[in-house]
């Protein structure tokens, strides 16, 4: 039990580190948002579940915290991405396609 929990927590902390490395290194708000959402959600989920497995008395409460993070973290990051799109933050100059602009033009044509 102890070994399984330690392995899961290690994977979770490595995911947390990679997510924050992405937030530091990537060139654009949207790329940073992507790294900061996916890696951080999975990393926090695995870390908290791993602590719950290492200490089985706490498993129910850690499951509640992990499920809460799993539900709410994508929602808040989606709201942040939508807000930065609407407040006019430009994409980085290496971006290839911008579907949101195409959708706006398509709606204007109709």
């Amino acid at each position: 039990m102890q070994v399984i929990g330690t392995i899961i927590t290690t994977i979770g902390t490595i995911f947390l580190f990679l997510g924050s490395l992405g937030v530091f290194r990537l060139p654009d708000v949207y790329n940073r948002l992507q790294a900061g959402t996916k890696c951080t959600t999975l990393g926090a989920f695995l870390t908290i579940i791993g602590v719950g497995i290492m200490n089985p008395d706490w498993f129910l409460k850690t499951l509640v915290i992990a499920l809460f993070i799993l539900i709410t973290n994508p929602i808040s990051n989606h709201a942040l991405g939508r807000a930065s799109r609407k407040s006019g933050v430009p994409l980085c100059d290496r971006s290839v396609v911008d579907k949101a602009n195409e959708f706006a033009e398509y709606k204007e044509k109709q």
Partner: protein, 83 residues
């Protein structure tokens, strides 16, 4: 012993996000960095609860997760259309 390694890795992760928060060119950059720090801190609180054998810290982590969710949504709403 293992807990110390976890705490060091998470400390490095938080300081990388903090650098991005200090550097970030626009306001949404800083908001994203703060939101990432908040999620990492929730995991850090759970790890601290395991390290110090305190059951109470789990409650702190739960309340912190709720409050940062509300804070992020409020910041996003403010960036989108003002107060």
């Amino acid at each position: 012993m293992g807990e110390i390694i976890f705490l060091v890795i998470i400390g490095v992760a938080i300081s990388l996000c903090l650098l991005r928060m200090l550097k970030g060119p626009t306001a949404p950059d800083r908001a994203v960095a703060v939101d990432t720090i908040a999620t990492i801190t929730t995991a850090l609180l759970v790890l601290l609860a395991f390290t110090f054998e305190r059951y109470v810290y789990l409650d702190v982590a739960l309340v912190y997760a709720v409050l940062t969710f509300i804070g992020s949504v409020a910041i996003a709403r403010f960036l989108e259309k003002g107060i």
